[in-house]
C-alpha cells in the first residue's frame, strides 16, 4: 500500500506543528505561539497501522486568497501538489474565525478531515461543541483533539485512514444567504437543463464559482458556446447580489457570505457558558503588559534582564567547559608523540573548536529567552507596542520578530521575515537583520568586553553593544526606506494570540535544536575552518629562519631565550600564508587601527563568526602553553591591541556581513544573488565608516 500523503492546513496559532508532533510521536518541528513559526512547509514521515504517513505542515494562514508570501506558498501547494488528505486544524476556542479558512479549503474539492484542536482548553473555558452537527453541515469528518493531552489523536489518525480509503466525497450542506441561494439555483438549473458537466464539479459548485468570479472556472468555460447564454444570467445575478450586499466588490460579498455561514455554524454547534462579567486571563495580562505607559518599560526591562542573565549565569558553566577543554587538550597532547600531528590536533582542532563550544551556555540562555517570548504569546504584544516606534523608521511592528530572532541566529530570522506581506517591508527588514548581533557574534563581544572592561561592567557593555547595533539598524532602515524602497507601507493587522503557559517540552525542543545545530556547525564547518586557518598560519616552512633563531637561542641566556622563541613564532606567522593574506589587505583596514592579525580574523569571520575567536586564538596565543584558554587569549589581546582599535573592531564585527550560511539564506529570501552583492557592499561600507569614526574618536 502506498504512503498516505497528508497536508496540514490551518490558521496561525492553532497548534498545527504541535499536533504533528503528537501524531507522529516525534518532536523534530519547531513550535511557537507566534504567527508564522512554520515559515516553510515542513515534511515528516511516520508509520501508523502499517501505513506510512507523509505529513506536510503548511505555514499557518488566515486565508488562502491573500497576497502574503505564506498564503501564496500554502495556496500554490494546495492547488498544484499531489496529496491524499487535508487535515484542517482549527482552534476549538476560536471556531468561528477558523471556519472561514475551512470554507475556503472546502472549495478545493479535496478529501479533508477537520481537527478541532485545543479541546482541553475549550473544556476549561466551558465551550461545548456539537461535533456531529458540524460534520453534517460541512460534510467532512470532524474530530476533537488536543495536541497537549494527546486526547483524540488516535481517533484523528483512524479518520485519516478512513477518508483516504474512501473514494466518495460527501456533499456539504452549507447554505448561503437567501439571495445567493436564489442565484445559485438559477444558474444551476440552467446548467442542468443544458446537460453541462465539468470535471468532477457539481453544477452547484460551478454556479458558486461563477458567482464568486473564480478566474480558473472562467478560463475553463471561456471557449464553451454555453458561455454566450450564461453570461446574461450571471450578470443579472451579480446585479442582484450587488444591491443586496451594498457593494460591487465580489471579494467583499464572498467575505460577507462566508462570515455569515461561519456565524451560523458557530451558533448552531457551539454552546458557551462563560460568565460574561469575568475578564479572561489574557485580557487581564494585557492590561499590564500592553499598558500605554508600562508596556514599553516592562519590555525593555525584560530584554535587559535577558542579556544580564546571558552573561552572568552563562559565565558559570563557561569556566567548567574552559577547564575541561584545556585538560582534554593536555591529555590528548601527551598521548601523541608526532610533533606535527600534536600541533594539528591540539593547537588547530581542539583549540579552535573549544573556543566555539565555550560559548554554548550563553547561546542556550539566549535561545531560551527567545523561545519563551515566542511560546507565551508575548512576541505579538511586543510587535503591537513597538509598531508606532518602528513605523517611524519605515519598518513594520512585525519586523520586530525577525529582528529579535536575529539576535539568536540570522538564518531563522531571514526566514521569519516572510510574515511581512509587503515586498519593500520585507527587503528592508532583511537588509537590517544583520545589525541585530547574532549569537555567533556573542563570543567575540564576550572576549573583547572581558579583555577591555572589568567583569562587573561587561554585562552592561554587552547590552550597549546590542542596543546600539539595533539602533543603527533602525536608522539604516529609515535610510533604505527613504532612498531605495520608496512607497506604500504595509498595514498592521495582526492577531494577538491568547497567552499560554510555556510548555517545557516546546521550549526545550526549540533550544535543543538550535544548540544542536550550533554544535554541529562547530563540529563541521568551524572545525574545517580552524584547521584551514591553522595550516595557513603554519606554512610554508621556514627552515632558514628557524635555524637562525635556533643558534641565537642556544647562545643567549635563559631569559632571553624565551623572548627569542616568541619572536621566532611571531616572525614565522608573519611569513605564513595567513600572514601574507592579512598583510596584503592590511592597508584597507589600517585606517581603522587593525593590524594584520585582526584583519585576518575578520576575513575568516566571513565563513562563520565563531571562527573570528578561534583565529584570534591561533594568532595571539602563540607564546603560551598548549592549554591556552580564553583568559589567556583576552590577556594577550589586551597586551597587543589598543583600546581604540578594539572598539573599532567590535563595531566592525557588529555591522559586517553575516556568516556564509546566513548569506546564502539571505540571497534565497531576498530573491537573488544580486541582493547578496548589495548586502555585501551595504554592510561593508557601513561597517568601515562606523569603525573609522569609532577609532578616530577614541584615539
Amino acid at each position: 500500500m502506498d504512503a498516505i500523503k497528508i497536508v496540514l492546513a490551518g490558521q496561525p496559532n492553532v497548534g498545527k506543528s504541535m499536533l504533528i508532533n503528537a501524531m507522529s510521536g516525534s518532536n523534530g518541528l519547531k513550535v511557537g505561539n507566534f504567527s508564522g513559526v512554520t515559515v516553510e512547509k515542513t515534511e515528516l514521515c511516520f508509520e501508523h497501522h502499517c501505513h506510512m504517513f507523509e505529513m506536510v505542515d503548511l505555514p499557518g494562514t488566515y486565508s488562502i486568497s491573500g497576497f502574503s508570501q505564506e498564503e501564496k506558498v500554502a495556496h500554490k501547494y494546495l492547488l498544484n501538489e499531489e496529496y491524499d488528505v487535508i487535515i484542517n486544524v482549527l482552534d476549538s476556542t476560536h471556531l468561528k474565525r477558523n471556519l472561514l479558512l475551512t470554507l475556503e479549503l472546502l472549495k478545493l474539492n479535496k478529501k479533508m478531515v477537520l481537527a478541532l484542536n485545543m479541546a482541553d482548553e475549550a473544556k476549561k473555558e466551558n465551550i461545548e461543541i456539537d461535533v456531529r452537527q458540524i460534520e453534517k453541515i460541512i460534510g467532512v469528518p470532524v474530530v476533537l483533539v488536543s495536541a497537549n493531552t494527546k486526547e483524540g489523536v488516535e481517533e484523528l489518525l483512524e479518520k485519516v485512514h478512513e477518508v483516504a480509503d474512501n473514494q466518495e466525497r460527501i456533499k456539504s450542506n452549507i447554505t448561503y444567504s437567501d439571495v445567493m441561494e436564489e442565484e445559485i439555483l438559477e444558474i444551476e438549473t440552467f446548467l442542468t437543463q443544458k446537460g453541462f458537466a465539468l470535471r468532477d464539479l457539481s453544477n452547484r459548485e460551478i454556479a458558486l464559482r461563477l458567482l464568486f468570479e473564480d478566474k480558473d472556472i472562467y478560463k475553463e468555460l471561456h471557449d464553451e458556446p454555453l458561455m454566450m447564454e450564461l453570461q446574461p444570467i450571471i450578470l443579472k445575478a451579480l446585479q442582484h447580489l450587488y444591491t443586496h450586499h451594498d457593494t460591487k466588490n465580489v471579494q467583499e460579498i464572498k467575505a460577507n457570505e462566508y462570515h455569515a455561514i461561519a456565524r451560523g455554524i458557530h451558533l448552531e454547534t457551539v454552546r458557551c457558558q462563560r460568565n460574561k462579567g469575568k475578564k479572561s486571563l489574557t485580557k487581564r495580562i494585557d492590561e499590564v503588559l500592553i499598558n500605554k505607559y508600562l508596556g514599553i518599560p516592562i519590555f525593555l526591562f525584560l530584554m535587559w534582564g535577558l542579556f544580564q542573565l546571558t552573561f552572568t549565569l552563562g559565565a558559570i558553566p563557561m569556566d567548567w567547559i574552559d577547564g575541561a577543554i584545556g585538560a582534554f587538550g593536555d591529555w590528548v597532547g601527551s598521548t601523541i608523540s608526532n610533533e606535527f600531528m600534536r600541533n594539528v590536533i591540539v593547537d588547530g582542532i581542539i583549540a579552535g573548536v573549544g573556543a566555539v563550544l565555550l560559548f554554548l551556555p550563553n547561546i542556550i540562555i539566549l535561545y531560551i529567552g527567545i523561545a519563551l517570548l515566542e511560546t507565551t504569546g508575548y512576541m505579538s504584544r511586543v510587535a503591537f507596542l513597538l509598531d508606532g516606534f518602528f513605523h517611524k523608521f519605515g519598518l513594520h511592528g512585525k519586523s520586530f520578530i525577525p529582528l529579535v530572532t536575529g539576535f539568536g541566529c540570522s538564518v531563522p530570522a531571514y526566514m521569519a521575515a516572510r510574515t511581512l506581506k509587503s515586498e519593500k517591508d520585507r527587503l528592508i527588514t532583511l537588509f537590517i537583520i544583520g545589525f541585530m548581533s547574532c549569537g555567533a557574534r556573542l563570543p567575540i563581544y564576550v572576549l573583547f568586553t572581558g579583555a577591555f572592561f572589568g567583569a562587573d561592567s561587561a554585562g552592561n557593555i554587552l547590552f550597549i553593544i546590542y542596543i546600539s547595533g539595533a539602533m543603527l539598524g533602525l536608522v539604516m532602515a529609515k535610510v533604505l526606506r527613504v532612498v531605495v524602497f520608496k512607497g506604500e507601507d504595509e498595514p498592521f493587522v495582526m492577531e494577538m494570540p491568547k497567552y499560554r503557559f510555556p510548555s517545557f517540552t516546546l521550549v526545550w525542543h526549540t533550544v535543543y535544536n538550535n544548540a544542536k545545530s550550533y554544535v554541529k556547525k562547530a563540529g563541521t564547518f568551524i572545525l574545517g575552518a580552524s584547521v584551514l586557518i591553522w595550516v595557513l598560519a603554519t606554512y610554508p616552512n621556514q627552515p632558514l629562519l628557524e635555524q637562525e633563531y635556533q643558534t641565537k637561542i642556544e647562545q643567549s641566556a635563559k631569559e632571553d631565550a624565551i623572548t627569542l622563541e616568541n619572536e621566532l613564532k611571531m616572525k614565522k606567522l608573519e611569513q605564513s600564508y595567513l600572514g601574507k593574506i592579512g598583510k596584503a589587505s592590511e592597508p584597507l583596514f589600517a585606517p581603522l587601527g587593525f593590524d594584520w592579525k585582526m584583519t585576518v580574523a575578520l576575513e575568516a569571520g566571513l565563513a562563520a563568526k565563531e571562527v573570528v575567536v578561534s583565529t584570534l586564538g591561533v594568532l595571539y596565543a602563540i607564546g603560551d602553553n598548549v592549554d591556552e584558554n580564553s583568559n589567556a587569549l583576552s590577556h594577550e589581546l589586551k597586551k597587543n591591541i589598543s583600546f581604540a582599535s578594539a572598539m573599532a573592531f567590535i563595531v566592525f564585527v557588529m555591522i559586517y556581513l553575516p556568516c556564509l550560511a546566513a548569506s546564502m539564506v539571505f540571497a534565497k529570501e531576498a530573491g537573488g544573488y544580486k541582493y547578496l552583492v548589495y548586502l555585501f557592499i551595504f554592510t561593508t561600507v557601513t561597517a568601515w565608516v562606523f569603525s573609522f569614526i569609532t577609532y578616530r574618536i577614541l584615539l
Binding site: 488566515y62 486565508s63 486568497s65 491573500g66 497576497f67 476556542t93 476560536h94 468561528k96 474565525r97 472561514l100 479558512l101 466588490n249 471579494q251 467583499e252 467575505a255 460577507n256 462566508y258 462570515h259 461561519a262 489574557t282 485580557k283 494585557d286 492590561e287 500592553i290 499598558n291 500605554k292 505607559y293 508596556g295 514599553i296 505579538s380 510587535a383 503591537f384 507596542l385 509598531d387 508606532g388 516606534f389 513605523h391 511592528g397 506581506k421 498595514p491 498592521f492 493587522v493 495582526m494 492577531e495 494577538m496 494570540p497 491568547k498
Partner: protein, 74 residues
C-alpha cells in the same frame, strides 16, 4: 464615526470598511466585516496601535488603518 476615534472600553458595530482590497481580505479573515461587533481593549501611546476584540479574537491594528473603518458606537 471612525474606529480610531473610539477609546479603551468602547463597544461598536462596524458600518463600513473603506480599506484597500488587500486589507479588506485580511480583515475579513479575522472576522472583521460589516456588521461585526467589536470592543476596544487597549491603545498604545498616541493611539499608534489599537487592540480590538472581535468574536473572541484579539486583533492589533494601526491607528491609520482604524481611520478607514466606519463604526457606530453601541
Amino acid at each position: 464615526m471612525k474606529l480610531s476615534e473610539l477609546h479603551k472600553g468602547d463597544r461598536a458595530m462596524i458600518k463600513k470598511i473603506d480599506s484597500s482590497e488587500d486589507l479588506k481580505i485580511r480583515l475579513a479573515s479575522f472576522g472583521v466585516v460589516r456588521g461585526s461587533e467589536l470592543s476596544v481593549e487597549a491603545c498604545s501611546m498616541g493611539k499608534k496601535t489599537m487592540e480590538i476584540m472581535v468574536d473572541d479574537t484579539l486583533i492589533g491594528l494601526r491607528g491609520e488603518e482604524a481611520k478607514e473603518i466606519e463604526v457606530e458606537k453601541l
